[in-house]
């Protein structure tokens, strides 16, 4: 017979397992690419708004 304590323990461990198993997965390439793209867009915005030094 399952005791209340057993269930609580299994639930607690199960929740932590569920969450931490995702942390161990490799980062998806598309997310990293998205951040690279956002950074690149930022840099090009800054460069395009900077006055031409030769002028």
């Amino acid at each position: 017979m399952k005791s209340k304590e057993d269930m609580q323990e299994r639930l607690g461990l199960g929740l932590k397992d569920m969450y931490s198993s995702v942390l161990d997965e490799p980062l998806p390439d598309d997310m990293l690419a998205l951040l690279d793209q956002l950074e690149e867009n930022d840099n090009s915005d800054v460069n395009s708004s900077r006055p031409d030094e030769n002028e």
Partner: protein
């Protein structure tokens, strides 16, 4: 008094990258669906980047982005009545090696059990019970009082224990494909709104 400093872009990107695994875990626990969760994370990254001037250096990037993710998820649910679901692809995974006298706890059962909870309770037990946040941190993320968070976690634990113990599941998989498609449409719609 000193004005709060924003992070330089490279540091902001670094901290945002470090938050991704936690955002995926939170999103997947909240939605119960891997693909929906990853779309939610992408949406969150876009919104966080667009709002990066409002992030204060020295505060928690993880907590800040969790707020963005949960607001996106719940507003999506409100707009199109999206119901969170669970991922049947992982139905056979067994969580936490049980003691010999215990039955194993399957991920699918846990996910289905979570989907039986109210949105508030599900979020509360994911943050505190799974993510290991303090009641104070979880209350900040969910924009509620600490006492309310404690109460939600307590009720969620009791409800989840009863559901898992008695196997009381509703037919959560009914219309799974349609709901997932709707959620994706919601997220894509939200991204299109903020994308240039």
């Amino acid at each position: 008094m000193n004005k709060p400093q924003a992070l330089p872009p490279a540091q902001f990107k670094q901290q945002l990258t470090e938050a991704i695994p936690h955002l995926r875990a939170f999103g997947r626990s909240l939605s119960g669906d891997r693909d929906v969760a990853d779309d939610l994370v992408q949406d969150t990254l876009l919104k966080a980047w667009a709002a990066r001037d409002r992030f204060i250096a020295g505060t928690s990037m993880r907590a800040w982005t969790f707020v963005i993710l949960r607001n996106t998820f719940f507003s999506s649910m409100r707009r199109k009545k999206f119901s969170a679901n669970y991922d049947e692809l992982v139905a056979e995974r067994i969580l936490s090696a049980p003691a010999p006298q215990q039955e194993p706890l399957h991920l699918a059962d846990l996910q289905r059990g979570l989907m039986e909870l109210s949105d508030d309770q599900r979020e509360a037990i994911i943050l505190v019970g799974a993510g290991g946040y303090s009641y104070e941190e979880a209350a900040d993320i969910s924009n509620c009082a600490v006492g309310t968070m404690k109460s939600r976690v307590s009720r969620a634990r009791k409800a989840l224990e009863a559901i898992l113990d008695e196997g009381r599941f509703t037919s959560a998989s009914d219309g799974h494909d349609n709901l997932t498609a709707t959620a994706l449409e919601n997220i894509i719609g939200a991204v299109e709104k903020i994308a240039p």
